[in-house]
Symmetry: C2
Subunit: 356 residues, 2 copies
DNA sequence: CTGAAAGCGCTTACAG
DNA sequence: CTGAAAGCGCTTACAG
């Protein structure tokens, strides 16, 4: 590939001049000279070496996004938001899937650091034990010191996220909406409570119950993973228990969708016998049958704002932390409760099926 | 951030020696010296500058994956496969979402080129008019010449993809499976036929019909987008038409899922009144109610193999093109056809609802 | 086994 | 308006 030296030679100017033209520097160059350089660059199919430029500036226009799992639609949509904003500013996005492994997360950040990435954005929340990893804060500290931006889009161990969503308030609103429909026995699929974000949502559930004057019953809470399978298993757990319930509120949409499917295969009518609600409003939430009632998080905007925050840091502007609103979206998976609630033990799968 | 110069100074050795130790070069260094350098590196929290190294090697351990849309689960799973393989080899993955825009795709490739990325992997298929863009082949040519790898995972204008899946055969197998169940009137949701991959799948549909001795009827083919919404609209189109059908075969899962939902909301029983089949077997295909019959593509493996192919090119090994198998997966959305097929015009929505 | 020096491709004071 | 030169942080022949 042609270098600036070759462009300069072909144009008959110094590399300094050639550089000033091709890098669109704000520096006077005569029109005739400029033309000759541009012609030479075109003729040689010149594309500047981003590494050389980055070495000089000790920064490269790349932003890394750390996600838990890229196939989780939550993260896919956040990444999409980051990409939308980043592309518009000429930045490239590196997506790093940590698989919720602290070791892996840390080694990604190290790689990003070694590459002098301009920013690293953590899309997912942290695990509850930050002591797990001593390397990560070291890398982040070094990056910050070098002027790179570090942004968190979800709760973590080091204080408030720069761009946040009120998880607790969101869940509490959904609980309120279910209570409004007439539900009193609301089960909660909590997700992995080792994750900060899951804990906030669990807190929101308690808060919602409290605000409605309803008692908290540990038997109605099922700790799960954050995926579809976890939701299906939680339904089994709830049905095997003795505590009746008329609604299931899940800590994310994937759990709710899993619950929906298991309920359907058991012949339990949704929302006739049980109402189901999710959280996040990922794209597929509106694609299920029945479509899923959920709490909408502005995921795309979350990503977009995260990048804009990073841009502020990079430009030495004073960035302001942002708090994004949530919104309850009622679709077809929720309705008033039935006269007789789905029960547990004495009314196991068979009975339930009859109920439907 | 500390540079190799500082590490060398602290260790009391030359930068050459320091470099040999920290870069794990295969070069003799006395154990004592090595120890001192390592200690110094640790003390200074030294992380090598990937840009400087990349400038020297004129290559950086980054592989770019060009997708049509990162929130499409098809691409998310392919990217995941690339990441799995790349991470294991110390490469970072840059995901670039072209939004099916040739301009945007080209500018991403230019960026990757400017960054001296080691490889670019095209996950999606090309648009049918390659002349649309003259820049892209130029960039790819330059990258290839510089020793970078270029890999295609889907059909495009420039010959056979390096890693491929038999789209036509896959669809034909699904048609065969539906015929086997007793269907004779099989509609096809074709996707955007400006995409090579969609055309291959349409060809597979024709081929499947031919092999079963069934006539091709243009009225049963609906050209659509490649998303959920397109599937829902296609159902409307088919029901508004006069041609009866007992099964819908879709060119991808998202279309089939959209069809499923629209059918459910119209009260049409699936699979009782209409069978529905998808293509790809993305994760959510098994999550719908009823779960979706589909053709499984090894998406993760597709990505993984794509990266391995790139690695072969980079290591100057002779890479071999790979052809991945497809597999029909019958779940709950397909069954033998009803005695009386769902019809079109004279049996519009109302009639259909009664049928269910 | 160790080190001095050149050079990867660029940008930017500095001098004219 | 133009150019010569230094330097970003590394690796690697080359010499010892």
């Amino acid at each position: 590939m042609a270098s600036i030296t070759e462009v300069a030679r072909l144009a008959g100017v110094s590399v300094a001049t050639a550089s000033r033209v091709v890098s669109e520097a704000d520096y006077p160059v005569s029109a005739a000279t400029r033309e000759r350089v541009l012609d030479a660059a075109r003729a040689l199919d010149y594309v500047p070496n981003a590494l050389a430029r980055g070495l000089l500036k000790s920064r490269i226009p790349v932003v890394g996004v750390i996600v838990h799992d890229i196939t989780d639609p939550y993260f896919a949509e956040v990444v999409r938001g980051v990409e939308d904003a980043a592309t518009a500013s000429g930045y490239l996005v590196i997506t790093c899937s940590s698989e919720r492994d602290a070791e892996r997360e840390s080694s990604y950040v190290r790689l990003l650091r070694s590459m002098r990435a301009a920013a690293v954005i953590f899309a997912g929340s942290g695990l509850d034990d930050p002591a797990l990893n001593e390397e990560l804060p070291k890398h982040l500290g070094a990056m910050r010191e070098a002027g790179a931006a570090v942004v968190h889009l979800s709760p973590h161990a080091f204080g408030e996220p720069e761009i946040s969503v009120d998880n607790a308030r969101g869940i509490a609103s959904m609980v309120a909406a279910l209570v409004e429909l007439g539900h009193r026995d609301i089960a909660f699929l909590a997700g992995p409570t080792s994750l900060y974000v899951a804990r906030e949502r669990l807190a929101g559930y308690r808060q919602g119950l409290e605000e409605a004057g309803l008692p908290f019953d540990e038997r109605l809470v099922v700790r799960t993973t954050f995926d579809h399978e976890g939701g299906a298993q939680a339904v089994d757990t709830l049905l095997a228990g003795e505590r009746p319930f008329t609604a299931i509120c899940a800590a994310n949409d994937l759990l709710a969708l899993g619950a929906l499917q298991r309920l359907a295969s058991l012949g339990v009518d949704v929302p006739g016998a049980v109402s189901v609600a999710g959280f996040d409003d990922v794209r597929i939430a509106s694609m299920s049958a029945p479509s899923l009632s959920t709490v909408r998080l502005p995921l795309n905007e979350l990503g977009r704002r995260g990048f804009e925050y990073a841009l502020d840091v990079l430009a030495d502007r004073e960035p302001s932390t942002v708090h994004l609103p949530t919104e309850v979206v009622l679709r077809d998976s929720t309705s008033p409760p039935p006269a007789v609630p789905v029960t547990g033990r004495q009314g196991t799968e068979r009975t339930v099926a009859t109920t439907a």
